[in-house]
């Protein structure tokens, strides 16, 4: 079977700034992967390359064996790290918009999650708090039946109780053929649900291991390892 995601000697430069340097890895199906690294290490660049929002300076990204394009956009659900919703729309309009746009959008799933998080479908984006906006964006992304979910900082502004619900939603929703790539700084919160960890440092891939391998070899949690590796 072709791997879900493959990055081959991927390099991205912004002018003279080297954002990603010769990154190669393969991501298998049915995995939850944490993309970890300090600020400016290249996490968002990598995610944007996977989604075809940036083109590599050299190297390539393959999703289901194909370069990012119209087909890969159907199989990859992307949650950007910035607010992207039209603020005059309400939740119901957003759901219609999404289901119009993506043939693999599951409307029932979206309403179910909204109900669990007590978000009113008539609420306008403009009137939402930061945390609520994040929840809505995440719900819209996770309601798609995609192969690969790329979540860039999905839970930063969300309270701990909702965070737990969101993490269990992630556990509930992913399937054996799909994988989830989560970029986050809240390592201790997500550590338990991760299979693998991709740690990047100065644009280079530093570690690609399972959480339990890291714990077995280093006798510390991924969170502790991160603090040690990236001590300022």
């Amino acid at each position: 079977m072709t791997p879900l995601l493959e990055c081959r000697t991927l390099t991205k430069k912004y002018g003279n700034t080297l954002a990603l340097n010769n990154v190669s890895f393969t991501l298998e199906r049915g995995r939850i992967v944490g993309l970890l690294g300090p600020n400016a290490s290249g996490k968002t660049t990598l995610i944007k390359l996977i989604n075809g929002l940036l083109t590599p300076t050299s190297g390539e990204v393959l999703i289901n064996g194909m370069r990012p394009g119209i087909e890969s956009k159907l199989s990859v659900a992307y949650l950007p790290d910035t607010m992207f919703l039209n603020d005059w729309m309400n939740v119901k309009q957003l759901i219609n918009y999404y289901s119009d746009f993506y043939s693999n959008f599951d409307v029932d799933k979206a309403y179910d999650m909204l109900k669990r998080l007590n978000i009113d479908e008539k609420m306008r984006v403009k009137a939402m708090s930061k945390g609520t906006k994040e929840k809505v964006q995440l719900i819209l992304t996770m309601s798609r039946n995609a192969d690969l979910y790329c979540l860039d900082e999905p839970i930063g502004g969300v309270d701990p109780a909702s965070r737990d619900y969101i993490l269990s939603t992630i556990l509930n929703n992913y399937n054996e053929n799909g994988s989830i790539l989560i970029s986050t700084h809240l390592i201790s919160d997500v550590e338990q649900i991760l299979d693998d960890v991709l740690m990047i440092r100065f644009g280079c891939l530093y570690i690609h291991k399972t959480v339990d391998e890291i714990r077995e070899e280093k006798h510390m949690s991924v969170d502790e390892l991160f603090r040690e590796v990236f001590r300022c």
Binding site: Q192, V211, D212
Partner: protein, 119 residues
């Protein structure tokens, strides 16, 4: 509620210990059916693949057996469960004795103190 897990040791090992405790404490009875991996993973708030690994370890030890069609079950072998209970009890005692000796208690002091709790 998710399971209490510490951060310094592999997660699957802690899941194995948790389930072993549930077996010897009688929360699972011999022959009981265990919830599906996915369900159990969500309950523990861990990754299903990690729970799967814990199940594989438990199967290897014989405490759990799987039936291809109907799922996983706790062993009927009560001797195995008794032996597990004894080994865990031993580990608790050893741990207790090591710690209380570290703070300078003599054997007599340990006994006196224990007696207060064993009424």
């Amino acid at each position: 509620m998710s399971w209490e897990l510490t951060s310094d040791r592999p997660i699957y090992i802690q899941l194995v210990e948790h389930i072993k405790f549930d077996i010897i404490s009688g929360r699972y009875k011999p022959g009981d059916k265990i919830e599906p991996v996915r369900e159990l993973a969500i309950k523990a708030s861990v990754n299903p693949n990690t729970m799967q690994k814990a199940m594989a370890v438990l199967e290897q030890s014989g405490l759990i057996y799987s039936n291809r069609t109907s799922g996983r079950f706790i062993t009927d072998d009560e001797e195995l469960i008794t032996a597990l209970k004894a080994s865990i009890a031993e580990a608790y005692c050893r741990d207790f004795i090591t710690k209380i000796r570290q703070i300078g208690y003599s054997n007599d002091e340990i006994r006196d103190n224990l007696n207060n709790y064993l009424i």
